[in-house]
Amino acid sequence: MSRDETSLLFAESHEWVDVTQVDGAQVAVVGISAFAIEQLNDLVYMDLPKAGRVLTRGEEFGEVESVKAVSPLYAPVSGEVLEVHQDLADHLDQLKDDPYNFGWIMKVKVANQDDLGLLLDHAAYQKQCSEPS
């Protein structure tokens, strides 16, 4: 089932989060927003984290190379990386077309419920994107 962008949560650093329940645990599916993909412009490489790595909210979990710049990706929540979208790095051209479904990067077991409360809803994120930084 396709994800509805408006129901997702967003980090100020432009990662999206879809919170799901798996075996009684909260799992955050994480990707990067359409706005970020447009700003980054023509991604050529992406470094993905390894499953099993334990992330702290705000920590760098990967990097992307776009035309003439390398930029970090930041973990929107703390927790263990359960699964990584291994096909993504070889199909970055598809990311722009489908950032919220094909574009998922990793699934993280949410370690701290409070992290979710620090994320923005879609309307607040859209407002952030429309304002000068």
């Binding site: 432009h14 003439k68 930029s71 930084s133």
Partner: protein, 268 residues
């Protein structure tokens, strides 16, 4: 007018040069916007060194015979490999608190093309003043160099940065003579780049300014003029400065953990 910090010219090995650039970037990111200012430095290399782009595989080194014997380091910035030998290298760090004022718009993510253009136009203006008719590649009417055409004919992305092209590169007589790359962190952006002065035995296929221009220019001529012109274009008044103790300490740690660490070099 924004106040900026101009560091003295120094020459280090590859890991130290990359560590200092990274420490400057992180320091600018961590400092409060009130105390953080743009920083410019020009530097040399204590021995000829091959730098790999951040995402290049170590195995790709085998594609380039002339640089096989050189020291090697992996950069934190992307793009192709560079033979740092007879060149002038620069790095510019801009805190995001100053970036919007410098480029005239907010730039939350990815490359800031305006920064490339301002630096490269300053270099072009300097070279033209010294008799070399350099251009921005995207605005140049001269055909590409033979070396680039050959590399593309093999259907591989060229190994060397100077055989690749983006619209913001600086070319002279059809050859790329300036290549730059950016890295972003949360609060600042680093742009560093190389200006080829002359062909190196480590990359004899790449001519430099003194091989292509009408009169010989020195590193001192270039760096002084570029500093002045870049200050005008960025709206920055440069004050002579030094790396702070915190940056030197950070550079030392970064060197050990990253740029001088063999596992960092061979991670791809």
């Amino acid at each position: 007018m924004i106040r900026g910090r101009l560091l003295p010219w120094e020459s280090f090995d590859g890991p130290q040069n990359m560590s200092v650039d990274q420490a400057m970037l992180e320091f600018a990111s961590q400092s409060s916007s009130g105390s953080s200012v743009p920083t410019l430095r020009f530097y040399g290399w204590s021995q000829p060194t091959l730098s790999l782009g951040y995402f290049q595989g170590i195995i790709e080194r085998g594609r380039h015979e002339p640089s096989q014997s050189l020291d090697i380091v992996r950069r934190s910035t992307g793009g192709g490999a560079i033979v740092h030998d007879r060149e002038l290298t620069y790095s510019l760090v801009v805190p995001l608190g100053c970036l919007a004022a410098i480029i005239g718009r907010s730039s939350p993510l990815g490359a800031a093309p305006e920064l490339y253009l301002k630096v490269h136009q300053s270099i072009i203006q300097t070279l033209r003043g010294l008799g070399s008719a350099a251009d921005i590649y995207g605005e140049s009417e001269v055909d590409d160099s033979e070396s680039t055409v050959q590399a593309e004919a093999c259907n591989l992305e060229p190994f060397l940065c100077f055989q690749r092209r983006t619209q913001w590169d600086v070319v002279l007589g059809g050859y790329k003579i300036v290549g730059s790359a950016q890295r972003r962190v949360r609060g600042s952006v680093l742009q560093h780049g190389s200006i080829l002065m002359a062909s190196s035995t480590g990359a004899p296929e790449l001519p430099g300014v003194n091989d292509l221009g009408s009169q010989a220019v020195t590193v001192a001529d270039l760096s002084g003029e570029i500093t002045s012109r870049l200050g005008d274009r960025l709206g920055v008044q440069w004050d002579q400065g030094e790396l702070q103790a915190e940056e030197l300490e950070s550079a030392s740690l970064i060197r050990t953990r990253r740029f001088a660490d063999p596992s960092w070099l061979t991670r791809r």
